[in-house]
Structures are given as C-alpha cells and as structure tokens.
Symmetry: C2
Subunit: 427 residues, 2 copies
C-alpha cells in the first residue's frame, strides 16, 4: 500500500472510561482524507505521562502523521507537553510565541495568564507553536523520526479551529515538501437510508462494487437507518479517475436505493425536512405520544426552525389526546390509543387546531412494559395530515430498547413527512 | 505500581471514524475495576487483519488482560478470529462447542446457520469458547505470553451479556489462580452536580483529597453539569481500609456540595425526578419553548413515565403560547416571549389546563440567531407552578452552541423540579 497512515492519540482518563460520543475522530479522519492521508489507528491513554510516551513510541513506528488531542490544559493532570518532550528528547522551554499568543487571547477577555496557565507556554524546544484561535492553550507541531507529531487541544471547538487554521497548512506543506509524488485525496461519499433493513440494503447493492475495487463499500446500522459509504483508497489512481469511478458507483447506489436515501453527506433528517419546509413556506405541528417530544427536539435542533415549527403537543395521557387534539374518547376506547384510527385523528387534530400546513403524529408502545400479544412493544403508528384528502398512516414493528424504539419512531415520522414534502409545491 | 493493567482493543473501521458514543468502555472499565484490574489503554483499529495483529503484539507488552471487541460477525470484513490466530500462532479450527452453541441459539429463532455464519465457528485452537447468550457470534478467550486475551462481540448488548455470563467467571478464576496475593477491587463513586461551574466545584473541594492520596478525584464537565468522581487505586490497601477512606471522602464531597448534587452513580436527572414524582403520586405537565420537546423526551426515556407525565406542549410560536397556555398576547408583546413573566405564565397555564400537580416551563434563546444586546443568545428562564403560591422562576445565562444551550436549559428546568419535589409530601 502506498498510503500515508495517520494515528490519533487521544489523551484523557475520562476518554478511557468512555460513555460519550467522540466527534474529534470523524473531523480528523475527513480533514486528513482530503490530503490523501488514511486514519489507521486510534490510541486512547489516560493522563499518565509514561503511558503517553509509550503511545508516541508505538505510533512513530506505524504512522507518518500523529495527531494528539488533549492534555494541554493548565493543571498538573495535563501532561502531553511533558510526555512529548520525554518521548522525543526535545526539552521543554518557555516559548515566547506560545506566551504571546496566549496573553493576547486572554487580553481579549480582559484577563491575564494565571500562574497555572503559564505552564501552557512550556513547549518542546524544536516545535512550531500552533495558536489557539478560540481558547488559551497553545498547541504545537514537530517532526521526529520522520513522523509529523501534531498536538491539539481535546475540546472539539478548539481542536477544530486549531486544526483548520494552524495545523493543516503545515500538514499540506509537509506533504508537498516530502519529495513523494503528490497524493490523491481520499474521497468519501455517504448516503443515509431509512426504511430498509441492513440485509435488504446489502442485497440491493450486491455486485455493485466488484472484489478488488479501489473503492470500499461500507454499511453502518443505527436506529436512524442504514448508512452506506463509498470510500476511495486514495493514491492508487489519478484523482480524476478516482472521482470518475466514485461517481459511477454513487450513481449505482442512488439508482438501486432510490428514495430510501433521505440525504447524502452530513445532513440529518431534521435538516432535510426543515430545509424543504422552509423552501416551500409550509408550517408543521406535532402530536407526539410514545416519542414524548423527541420529534420536536430534533426539528428544533436546526437553527431557524422557528420559521416552520409552530408547536407540538406531547399527549402521553389519553385525556391529553382528547383535550389537546380532539381525538374522540370513544375512538380511543374502541380502537386503543395505539391504532391506525388514533394516529390519523391525532395528525388531523393538531393540523386543524394549530392551523398549520401539515400535522404529524406518532402513537406506539415504547416498552419495556405495556405490550400485549396483539399489540406488542415496538408497535408504532405514524400519521400525517396535509388537509387535502384523508390522513396518511403507516404501521411499524420496531425492535430494541425504549430509546431505540423512540428513535426509530421519530425517524419514521420525519421520513413520512419528507416523502409527503417531495410531492408538494411552494405556496 | 502493583496494578494489573488491562487494554481494550476495539475493532471496526467505523469506530476509527467515530461520531458515536462508546458505551462499551464504561461497562468494561467498571467490571474490570471490580476485579481490581485497571483499564489503562484503549486501541482502535479498522477491519485490517495485520493492524489487529500489531495491536495484539503491542497490548501483550503492556497489559495482562486484553479485551477485544468487534470483528466476530459472519462477513469477510470480520477478521478478529484470524488476526488472533495469526498473532498468537494458534491455528483456526472449526470448534464443536462454538458450532453447537450457535446452532442452538439460531434454532430458538427457527433458523439454521447460513454458510457465512459457519465461519463464526472457526476459533483459534487453544481458546475457550464463550457462548453468546443473545446473538449468533461466539466469543473466545485464550492465554498467550502471560496475557489473558478475551474476544467479545462489538454490539453492546451482546458484549455485556457475554462478559457477565461467560468471561467474568474466567477472569475471576484466572486472577485467583495466578498465585498473586488477592487484589482489592477498584472502587469508584460518582456524584452528579448541577448549578456550579467547574471552577466553583474545584474551589469547594479544594484540599479535600490530599496529594499522594490513594484515592483519585476527577471532575468531568458537560452541559448537564459537573460530575465528580472518587476512585481508589486498588491493591495498595486492604479492601476495608480502602472503603473506609472512600466513605470519608464521599462524606466530604456530600457535605461540601450539598444539594448541588442531584444524584450519585448511574442515575440520570430524569430518573431522579421521575422516581420522586412516582413516589409522591404527583403528575407533571410541560410547557417548552426553546427546548423544543427535549424535556419531554428526557422524562419519557424512563420506563413507566406515563404514570406521572401527563402532557407537554411545545409552544414555539407566540400564538401557541397564547392558544395552548393562555399566556396573554399583550404580556408577550410587553415583556417579550423570553421573560420572567412569560415563564411564570407558561408554568401556571399548563398546570391549570392539564389539571396536574405541577407545571414546568422554559423560554429562552437557543441561538445562533435571535439574540439582542439586552437579551443575548443563551438567556433562558425556567418556571414552575405547583398551585400553592406564585410561580417560581429562575434566570440563566448559558453559553455554547444551540444544542448545548438546549441541554443546559432542560437540565435547569428538571433541577428546579427536583428541588421543588424535595419539599413536597405524598398526596
């Protein structure tokens, strides 16, 4: 393989224990990919200097680019600077560029460096200082044993700004100056689908990407659907040829998965739906039972959503369904709250009462309790009422724990809205 | 250090790219800790056999217990079995115990192993088979170069079941048979606070844990508050002495942080509040503006919440605030939707209309748009109305992006409810 391998060393005892999402890796993998550099390893170590030293020694043996994140703060726990010095033999020194940058940044906030923060200017002597555009801790970059070691903060916002503004120009220069033929970027295309199981996606895409292709096909399953990715291996074909190949395969994915694909790239379902609502000048109101507010939460994660989200009601009790949505109490008694009829009445009720373009509803059994033989846990109805013609309803049988069922239900409702929006014209 | 070090090797190209939460590490760190084993390293590698081999070779040099997760499925991408065989020299063989367990499990679902699934029974010859209590892929465990290598599935539900039922008994036996003196478990106590900044928590706890103590004090900040942890180092004191020390320090944390601590251990705010509502026989209804349904979503994440969550309204538009909550339109015009007065009127309005014990409201500016010099992004009012006396309101100025402000706002509202519930008696 003629790939340039990169390794992330993430530092922090709390990262070892996990339990939270790692957004840094996704960002770094993409930015490195644009330079034709493949992320191949990730190491996580606690705030133990000797463990960080070991990780650096391992990384230089298998990666040409090493991105370290975290451990640059002012406390004694923050030992990345000292560990890099110990690993490489570059002594720590108080670096004027680091001190000046930090002082200037703090001055903007009307502060001066605290004694603890002065530690942050102690940087290995051979290193280039990387300014922190949004925080106080400087980063740095040095070359050792033919590897480029870049040390960035762990806070995503600071890491991203420093990577984009300070580290990437150096990485680009290093890759141009390295005397190797220019590398072709790794190109990645991601399709998000909803409504098909993994095995169904797999079957539909069967034979599309031949064995030994220079493009990798990947599937990733979550309660929000199956994600399909095409990734070039980089560096084995000219950039144009690679792009041509990817384009052909992407066309194949699109023609095989059609409108199960709700978006490509980084977009979320709520962004897709929100953009369409905004473009068409339509408004939406929600009637949520088993999702408990999740659809409202998701739609309002998008900045500017107040332009099209008018209101929602979380009608957990039957009384609330009747009082807030006008669902007849005897309909609930006859059909049950989890039924085609109630989903339709909820969607229609919220649209009429809120006087919006479209009403969206969900009613189901999130579990773990409340299921019966006829209406098991995971049974969910979604409904949509657009005013013209009867309400549209769809029935699902989901699996998983309470959260998985809520997530799938919210996605099913938003997907119903997305499909309906495809047929609408601007008002 | 007389600690037994463990390393996790997580396998999967999608894990390298990240972007999702890693719940496996938290679980494994805790279970290993109970045996006195310290999680010190975590390595993430893609689905590349040679990279997994390298990771195993590195791990046996620095860890006595190696837990591998992922790469045990039926596809050609799943190469953990082959990598362990290549790394250790134990040849792959079709193992009867693995085949029988898998066949029995599939039979329960009315299926037989597919040709691809038969690959899952190819296990290194020296290894002990670990049954999969909830899925088809078996795991395994072997000793090589004095390290215990345990290979588990990557899916959290399968990993946890196999770890608890199959791997832990072996780990326990290995640790008893190792001839070393019995190890004392690592004990960890976690306190969740809300309402104090990290620096304030730090100042309040200053001097509590002396330098060189056998207990580590850790702080972890998130939009939901500051988490404080006390962790014994294990193995340096007898178990009882360690527990005594931890108890003393935990008492210290509690007396210094008082009712800023909303819970200990694994509980979430919504569980704490939900339990209290259920115990007291009280019901709640929500009036959410800037949180957009997040409070409802969180409260209904708890199984059984339909007993106390009656309803919520997401009143994103001013019209919705008036129509659904009876907030006077001229009050909104006079004070603005984001104000003490509107927060109070929303809480009172939802309580009266829903006829519940307590109404909870939030109104604020989640950003990035919509802020002014007088009412900047992050300004949030929460309100509570319990029927007796006037509504209680609280003002906050939060920082961060839209999601961070929504999360903090939801936590502030739930914390207001929690504090109010502390003063209530069962009906």
């Amino acid at each position: 393989m003629n790939q340039i391998a990169a390794e992330i060393i993430a530092i922090g005892s709390e990262l070892l224990i996990g339990g939270r999402s790692d957004s840094n890796s996704l960002f770094l993998a993409e930015e490195l990919g644009k330079l034709g550099i493949t992320l191949r390893f990730k190491s996580v170590v606690g705030d133990e200097k000797q463990d960080i030293v070991t990780a650096i020694h391992i990384a230089v043996k298998r990666a040409r680019v090493i991105i370290m994140t975290g451990g640059l703060g002012p406390t004694v726990d923050d030992c990345t600077r000292g560990a890099v010095a110990a690993a490489t033999g570059y002594r720590l020194a108080r670096r004027k560029a680091a001190l000046d940058g930090m002082t200037a940044r703090l001055a903007q906030w009307g502060r001066t460096p605290s004694p603890a923060q002065l530690r942050q200017a102690l940087i290995p002597s051979g290193a280039t200082i990387l300014n922190n555009p949004v925080g106080s801790a400087p980063g740095f970059c040095l070359t050792w044993k033919k590897a480029l070691i870049v040390s960035l903060p762990g806070v995503p916002r600071e890491m991203e700004a420093m990577m984009l503004q300070e580290a990437l120009p150096l990485l680009r220069a290093a890759s141009e100056l390295s005397g190797q033929p220019p590398r072709t970027p790794i190109v990645r295309q991601v399709f998000h689908t909803f409504g098909l199981a993994e095995a169904e996606v797999d079957a539909k895409l069967s034979g599309l990407v031949p064995k030994g292709s220079l493009v990798d096909l990947g599937l990733l399953v979550s309660p929000l659907g199956v994600q399909v990715s095409l990734t070039t291996k980089g560096n084995q074909l000219a950039h144009e040829k690679q792009c041509d190949l990817l384009k052909k395969l992407a066309d194949g994915v699109r023609s095989r998965l059609r409108d199960w694909i709700f978006t490509q790239g980084h977009d979320t379902m709520e962004e897709v739906v929100g953009r369409k609502l905004a473009t068409l000048g339509l408004t939406v109101a929600l009637a949520e039972s088993c999702t408990g507010g999740l659809i409202g939460h998701r739609l309002t994660q998008v900045a500017g959503s107040s332009a099209y989200v008018d209101r929602g009601v979380i009608c957990y009790s039957n009384r609330a369904k009747t009082e807030l949505l006008g669902v007849p109490a005897d309909l609930i008694a006859r059909q049950g709250a989890v039924s085609w009829e109630v989903a339709a009445a909820m969607a229609c009720g919220i649209r009429e009462r809120a006087k919006v373009s479209v009403g969206l509803s969900v009613t189901g059994i999130a579990g773990p309790g409340g299921g019966t033989a006829i209406k098991p846990v995971g049974l969910v109805y979604v409904g949509l009422d657009g005013g013209a013609g009867p309400s549209i309803t769809k029935k699902f049988q989901f699996h998983g724990d309470r959260n998985a069922i809520k997530q799938q239900s919210s996605q099913a409702a938003l997907d119903l809205l997305r499909r309906w929006l495809l047929d609408q014209r601007a008002k």
